[in-house]
C-alpha cells in the first residue's frame, strides 16, 4: 500500500519534471537570469522647469544649462509700433550641476531688475525593483534681490539694503504615474521684506500644483497653479496660473505658455502677480522659454 503511494508520487514527479524542463524555451530561461536591480524613474519632467516654477528634475553631473525666458504682454490702449509686443521681460539664466543631485543656478531679469539664485538638491528618487520609492522629492532654496527700489512704496517702505531681498523655500514632490502623466505639488514658504506702515505679512505660505501630460514622445501639455494662503493685503494680487506646451528638440528644450505671471523669481510671481488670468490686455502674458544643455563631462564607453 505504502509502496503504491510512493510509486504514484514518483510517477507524478517524473511527469511534472519532464514537462517543466521541456516547456521552458530559451528566452524564458533568460528572463530568470536577470539580476534584481533598482530602476530609477527618468524624465518625470523633461525640463528643470515645468513652466513657471522648478520641476523635481536636475541635470546630471557636469551639465551646463543656458536659459532664456521671455514673457510678452500688451498695454491696453497703447499707441505704439513696438515689435511683437508692447512689453517684454527676459531672464538670462545659467545653471551648473555639481553632481547628479545638486544644481546651482542664477539669473537676471531685465524688466523688473531682479537677480535671483537658487540651489536645488534631490533627496529622493522614484524607483522600482529592489528598492522602491513611490515619490521623488527635491528641495529648492532661492534668493532674489530687487534692484528697483521703491517700485511700489506701499509694498516695501523706505529704501534699505536689506529690504530688497526675498527668500523662497520649496519642497517639490512629484510622481510619474504613467509614461505620460506626471504630477507635482510644491509646498512653499516665502520670506520677504515688508513695509512697517502696512499690514502685509513678511512670511507667506503657498502651495503649488503642477503636471504634465505627454501628447507625443517629444511634446507635452503642462499646467501650474499656485495658491497663496496669506496674500499681500495692501495691493490686490491673484494666484499664478500657467497653461503651456513643452517641446524637446535634442539639446534644446522649448516651452510655450499662457500665464498671468509677469515675473520669474519665485517669491515675486507667487505673491505679487497683480493681474488675473484672462485674455484681456494687459493680463494675458505669452511666455517663451528656451533652454540649451551642454555636457562638460562625457561618459567613457569601454
Amino acid at each position: 500500500m505504502k509502496n503504491k503511494l510512493t510509486y504514484k508520487l514518483l510517477l507524478a514527479f517524473c511527469l511534472v519534471a519532464n514537462s517543466s524542463v521541456k516547456a521552458q524555451n530559451l528566452l524564458d530561461k533568460l528572463d530568470k537570469e536577470y539580476a534584481k536591480i533598482t530602476l530609477y524613474e527618468i524624465a518625470t519632467f523633461k525640463t528643470t522647469k515645468i513652466g513657471l516654477s522648478h520641476s523635481i528634475e536636475t541635470r546630471k553631473k557636469g551639465a551646463i544649462q543656458i536659459s532664456l525666458y521671455n514673457r510678452y504682454w500688451d498695454i491696453p490702449n497703447f499707441q505704439s509700433n513696438r515689435f511683437l509686443a508692447d512689453e517684454v521681460n527676459t531672464r538670462y539664466g545659467l545653471e551648473y550641476s555639481f553632481s547628479d543631485n545638486f544644481t546651482f543656478g542664477f539669473g537676471y531679469s531685465n524688466f523688473d531688475k531682479i537677480s535671483d539664485g537658487y540651489a536645488k538638491y534631490r533627496i529622493l528618487k522614484q524607483s522600482k525593483g529592489l528598492k522602491s520609492n513611490y515619490l521623488s522629492i527635491t528641495l529648492l532654496q532661492g534668493v532674489s534681490q530687487r534692484k528697483t527700489r521703491n517700485a511700489n512704496a506701499n509694498l516695501y517702505g523706505v529704501n534699505t539694503s536689506s529690504n530688497s531681498y526675498a527668500f523662497t523655500s520649496q519642497i517639490l514632490i512629484a510622481r510619474k504615474f504613467s509614461p505620460e502623466l506626471s504630477l507635482q505639488i510644491m509646498p512653499s514658504f516665502i520670506h520677504r521684506a515688508s513695509s512697517p506702515t502696512n499690514n502685509d505679512p513678511n512670511n507667506h505660505f503657498a502651495i503649488g500644483f503642477g503636471g504634465r501630460q505627454k501628447i507625443s514622445n517629444h511634446t507635452s501639455i503642462v499646467s501650474e497653479y499656485y495658491y497663496v494662503a496669506n496674500p499681500i493685503k495692501s495691493i490686490s494680487t491673484f494666484n499664478a496660473f500657467m497653461l503651456g506646451i513643452n517641446w524637446e528638440v535634442s539639446d534644446l528644450m522649448l516651452q510655450f505658455h499662457l500665464t498671468n505671471a509677469r515675473n520669474f523669481a519665485e517669491d515675486t510671481f507667487i505673491t505679487q502677480t497683480t493681474n488675473n488670468f484672462n485674455f484681456k490686455d494687459p493680463n494675458l502674458h505669452f511666455g517663451f522659454n528656451a533652454t540649451f544643455i551642454i555636457h562638460t563631462k562625457k561618459k567613457k564607453l569601454k
Binding site: 527618468i42 535634442s250 555636457h295 562625457k298
Partner: protein, 181 residues
Amino acid sequence: MNKILPLFLLLTFLTNKETNKNQFIARQGQVSFFSYASVENIEAQNNQVLSILDIKNKKIAVSMLMRAFVFKKDLMYEHFNESYIESDIYPKATFEGDILDFDTSLSNQTKIIRGTLTIHGKSKNIDIKTKIEKKAKTFILSGEYNVLVKDFDIKIPPILTSNIAKIINIKFRFQYQPYEE
C-alpha cells in the same frame, strides 16, 4: 511494467538534465550601436546582455534591457529611453534564432543565424552573419548587423532627421560559459 515505467521516466528526466550540458550562457554579453549622422554621432554600449546557446538544437536566444545602454551624454540616454525606444513600455530587446549548418567540432567558423529580432515591441525576421569561435569547450560569438530605424516603428520627428541615422549599426560579442541552473 509497473516498475519499468517510473524507471523510464526517471531516465528521460535525467537525460533532460543532461541537455543542459549542451547549453551555454553569456551573462555579460556586449552589444553596442552606432548612429553616424551629420549633426552628431551617437554611440551606446550595453555590457549586461544575456544570451543562451543550445548547441544540441543549434538555437540561440539573446535578451537585453534597454535601460542598461550607456551613452556618452546623459541627455542622449534620457531621450533614447523616453522619446524613441520607450523603455517604460518596451523594456527589453530580444532575439531568438537558429544557427544554420552549425558544426560544433570546428574551432573557427562563420555561419548565418536566422531568427526574430524584437525591438520596441516590433519583430522582424533577420539573417545575421556571425563568427563562431570555440575555445576550451566554450564559444565566442561576434558580428555586426545593420538595422533600419523605420522597421521598428521608432518615430523621429522631421526636425531631428539629421540628428539620427536611418541605419543603425549594431555590434555584438558574447562569451559563453557552461550553463548551470
